[in-house]
Amino acid sequence: MSRLYEVMFIVRPDVAEEEVDKLIAGFTTSVTNGGGVVKNVEKMGRRKLAYTVRKCADGNYVLFTVEASGAVVTELERRLRVSEPVIKFISVRIDEEEKRLAKVKALRASRRKLSAEPAAPAPVPAPAHVEPSEAVQASA
């Protein structure tokens, strides 16, 4: 019942680098304590905000990719809301999206394989060369 989430939050610009790392460590521990897995942590660096948030004009963006249940993410959101250096956050559920993308990719890959097979003698690009010859050998 694990879902994939993307949590992005903005930290105040006047907070030191070590503080940001400490915050990140704190959040990751809260996720792992709840039984989730932090798949990826990406510090996107300082960016100018599109509008002023709590009187800050720029901020440090951090992106978490978390695989966890809903309750864990709710707890993480609660912590983000409470923590003072974090000025904005958004959590997006992406497992349905990933499923859809995987389906589309699989569909495209299967379609490409079907179209590559009959073109055995024709000049086909290198990767397709392997498939037709194998198919010919298998059928013969």
Binding site: V53, K88, E97, L101
Partner: protein
Amino acid sequence: MAEETTARAPEAGAGAPAQSSGQSSGPGSGPGPRPGGRPGGPGGRGKFFRRKKVCKFCTEKIDAIPYRDVRLLQQFVAERGKIVPRRLTGVCTTHQRRLTRAIKQARNIALLPFATRH
């Protein structure tokens, strides 16, 4: 359509540039020499002879529109920060809906503004 313009061009001579520019889909040209109500037009009143715009996402096979990709999203946002309608950008319905969702998410995380130019 092409024959008419070429037939008129040698005829009019000096007046050709003015006329042909009005005919051959000048941007935002209102009802020129052709009357409105022509089938296959965009359906609105403003631009008559826009050639069929194709959805950028369908042609480039972009499946996912992430809210993090600000440069991509900014192409579909007007100067004042408003989302551009799909009749102007030519995006298909499914992608326009995903795009709108991504733009609103980006606005919430301060990657895009809600409105500019106070």
